[in-house]
Every structure is written in C-alpha cells, then in structure tokens.
Symmetry: D2
Subunit: 170 residues, 4 copies
C-alpha cells in the first residue's frame, strides 16, 4: 500500500499581502496552491504569475488558498524585499506572498531546500489534509492544473496528516 509524506511546513522570513503570517497548519482544511517564483525569472513573470493571479480570482468562491513563495537562490542583492514589494505592486499581485528564509549555509533558501525544488517556477498543490498532491518544476498547463484542483477540491477532509504519512487514496 502506498504511503505519502505530509507537506513540510513553510519556513518563512516575512509575509506580504496578508495582515498576519500564514502557515500550512493554519490553512489545514483548505486546498493550498503554492507558486514558488523569483521576481527576475522570465518564465515566472510571463506564465506562472499570471496563472496564479487568475487562479486567485477564481479561488474567491472556492475553498482554495493561493500563496506565492519568493525562493531567491541567485542574484540575492537584486531580489530584495523592497524590490519584491515594487514587483508585486507593478504586477498587481494581491495574494499572500511569503519570502523564503535565507540559509546560513548557501544560496538556496530553507523552504526551497526542504521541498527539494529544482528551480523556478515550481507549483505545489496540497490537499485539505496537508498531503502533497503535486510538486512540479516548469510551466503548468491551465487545463491540467484546473482538472487537478477540481478533483482535489472535491475530496472531503479526512483528518490530520500527522504523523506524516497516510495510506494513499489517489
């Protein structure tokens, strides 16, 4: 029988576009989509960010949380918090955006390392119980992503993901 790991908690330096910090634990019960990006990543700017903006608009009537995660792993001096704020303003990003916590050991920030992301953009989908249902590097097709989210949204909450695994049902 398959068993899956629960999605690891986010390790965040600072939150933007939200009155108070969020966490996966606090969002348990909702489906969560995380768009990991860098503000100077062309594929993020041309495809993933616009997709996340549209998804956030559609999510108003759904039990769905859309989060941005700024995972800076290159050009750290260019992609500062103040630069990110200007970027979010200019691109009209209104969903909550988390700044991944820098690592003391190297250029890869902590949440990015924990999730073993290969780069940006990366899309992560987490179900109501806190389990990972998608972790994909690169551009996501809108139809495919919508189909997946419609399916995951239709699954009722079954209980807490703790202690880290469960029998796979998909």
């Amino acid at each position: 029988m398959e068993r899956r790991l629960a999605a690891p908690e986010l390790d965040i330096d600072r939150w933007l576009n939200t009155p108070e910090p969020l966490s996966l634990a606090r969002l348990r019960g909702k489906v969560v989509v995380i768009h990991a990006f860098q503000m100077l990543c062309p594929g993020c700017v041309s495809h993933a960010i616009p997709q996340a903006i549209r998804l956030h608009e559609l999510a108003r009537n759904l039990d769905l949380a859309v989060l941005g995660l700024h995972t800076v792993f290159e050009h750290h001096e260019a992609m500062t918090a103040i630069a990110l704020e200007a970027f979010l303003h200019e691109y009209r990003v209104t969903f909550p955006v988390a700044i991944d916590r820098p690592s003391a050991d190297g250029p890869i920030p902590r949440t990015m390392a924990t999730y073993a992301m290969r780069g940006t953009p990366t899309t992560i989908v987490i179900d109501r119980d806190g389990f990972l249902v998608r972790h994909a590097f690169g551009q996501e097709d809108d139809l495919m992503l919508g189909l997946l989210l419609g399916t995951v949204l239709s699954q009722p909450r079954q209980g807490d993901a703790a202690p880290g695994t469960r029998d796979a049902t998909t």
Copy 2:
C-alpha cells in the same frame, strides 16, 4: 428545491472520427464536453478548437468524452461535410465530431435549436447522469473549465437522468 432538465439528446446527420455513431445515452456514466463550432468561425479556430484538442489529450486518462458538434447556421454552402473533413485533417482534430442535422424550416440546425445556443463557440458540459452542468457561449477560460470538469468528474454516477429532471445537488 431546484430541479434541472436533463441534457436533450443530440440530433445528428453524420459522425466523423468515430467507427460508429455516438449518443448521449450511450455515453451515460461519463462526463461529456461538447464543443459546438463552425469551421469558419475565427473564435472557434483560434481558441475553442485548440482548447478541445488539449482537453481530448488530457481526457485519455479520465472518464471524460470530448465531442465536437458542427452547428452550421450561416454560409451553409461553404461549410459542407467535405470541407469539414479537410478542416479536421488540417487542424489535426481527432476527437469525434457530429454534424448537426439541418432543419427543414430555416438556417439553424436541430441540436443547436434544441439547446437554444446563441452562436459559436458554445461549450456544453454534461455530468455522468446526463444532466447539464454548463452551457456557455463564447471563449471559456482554461483554468475555470478545468476546475469545473475536475469537480464534475469527482461526482459518482447517481442514476439515470430520466424522466428528465432531478433534484439539483450543486
């Protein structure tokens, strides 16, 4: 309590891209997406047909049938069956396409009239029990359509739509 009409059966002159004729009755148990189009409708060619092609590719692993419906209501001499066959070949449309049956009374073909379509493109989604869950004129957003289909695909079959209505559950 809301009650909804079952999707009316298609009235078809001829089927292409399928070894034998289809019908909604035969597809009962599957989710059905109907893309009503005209081969000389620019909005169909630039958006709806490519969307249907991608959906058909995604549908291979799903309990989902994608059908085209050629609802010619203008330029009848131009959009003949032989012209449609060339169109399907050139645009690499491989899903089943039904040619709507012409009416003896006027330019609007029969299925188009039964469904009271406003023009092309029109997208129709039918659930596993044969009930209409979407009937929309114009371009459909990929994310929105995917979300809807993921949701409808997650609903188990409940029983036959006959005798034409049921208590609404959505």
Copy 3:
C-alpha cells in the same frame, strides 16, 4: 554583375474584393506584397492572414499594394470560391484576393507553379519596377518584413523591368 528576373505575371481565375481585375503590370510603380495562402492552412490563418490585414491597414498611407493569392493545391473540393468568400467575410479580409488558376495537369495551380512556391503561406515582395525582392515560404517576422518594405518603398522607380532582367541594384 548580378542580374535578376522580373516577377512573372499572375495567372488568375477570379478576383475578389476589387471592382476590376488587377495585374502586376497595372500595379507597376507600386511596391506589391503577395500573400499566397489556403483558407484551411493553419499557419496562414493564425499568422500570415492577420499580418496581411495589419499591413493593408498600414498601406493606406503608402505606395504599397497588398494582395492575397488563394493557391489551392490540396482539398480542392473544400476550398471552393464560395467557401473562400465566406472565409474572407468571417476573417474580415478586405484587400484584393486572387484565385490562382487551376491547372489542367495536376493539383498545383498555375501561378503557384510559375513561382515554384513550396507551400503556404508564401510571401512575395515586388519592387516598383516589377522585380522580385523576396520570395519566402513560412511565417515572416513582422519587424523584418517591415524593414524590408520600408527599404523597398524608399527606392524610386527606375524604369520598366522588361525585357525580364536588369542589373541588380540591391
């Protein structure tokens, strides 16, 4: 010294969108752009036709003639004159369109054969003196085509292209 052949005259079955037939001889003194297309060619519909429409709008203030040439070499029963008329109406093509004259010997129409076109779309540019300055198969980049046309439009008429060749000046 280089010498170039003059652009061969068009051999046309029927003209649309023009009160009277045109010819390269009648257009001598203008720069001429010919967009050879088929109405069921996806690359023509998505790129070349929209480019020709925009060029025709820009040409209003220029000494430039934009012509369509319907070079049907496949699906002849589908791409009839009546189908083409519906196509031009739906896609809002208002520049003159010539229907290439069918050949008695095979599927390739006469002007297409004379110009040795490799398929559709093909773009042909002819200078004020009737000489070919471009003959290209496939999609043309807008910037490149604009640069070429701006250059050719800046060249004054030098004299008739007859008897078929001249010393190359470009």
Copy 4:
C-alpha cells in the same frame, strides 16, 4: 517650411553591455533606436524588451544602433544598478543599456526630463543626421516600426544636425 529640433544628447550615469560609453554624437551617421524602459514595468518586459532584442538581432547587418535607456522614475530603491544587471542577464539583453542620470530635484531622471517622456516604454528613433523621427509612448507595432526604420535607413546622411534645426524633409 517645417523645422525640427535635433535629438538632445543623452545624460547618462553609467553604461552597461558596452566596453566604453556611447553618445548620440558618437553614433552620428547611424540610425539610432532608443528603448526607454524600467525593469519592473510590465509592458516593457512583455513587449518592448523582446521587440528591442529582436531588432538588435536584425540590426547586425544594418547601419542601426539599438540602445536601452533605464529611466527609473518610481521604486528607485528596487530598480538599482545591481538589480538592472541581474535583469539584463536573466532576460538575455545584450545591447548597450544606459542608466539615466538621477536628478537632484525629483524622481524624474535627466534624459527622461529632457525628452519630456510620458512614461515607459517609450521608443525614440533618431536619423543619421541626429534628428528625431519618432518619439512614442506605449507599445509600438512591429510592422509599423519596421516600415519606419526601413525608410529612415534608406535616407543618406545629409550633414550635421547642428546648430539644432534643419528644414524638415519628411
């Protein structure tokens, strides 16, 4: 008789992507296209920068200089020189880019003020003699820009633009 002002000289803080500083005076004899942009301006990133990149590729065989001009008039802390360098690297911009000199008096940098630019993107075209032939705010159509440049490139150099005006010839 119309008379036109010569294009004012650029007032630049720093040059990138060039071994030594440029100036309009040094480029006299070439046609010059200046793309004024901000790295966090969505219309610049999606349209104007890609257009400038393609134009720069086409310019290799032409007597044409393509320059970027980073005219930061908002979010100054975000769009620093170090951020711009990262942006140029990620978006693969290889043409020379000038950083407009900040003003002591307000947020508008000096060259932007001298040219009375309305915002970004702004496209400026200067002929071989140093006269302005286009100064436009917003997205430029590729075909139109190409036609203009082809025309301007066809005009031979007539002499120095100094002392600032000449009889208009276009």
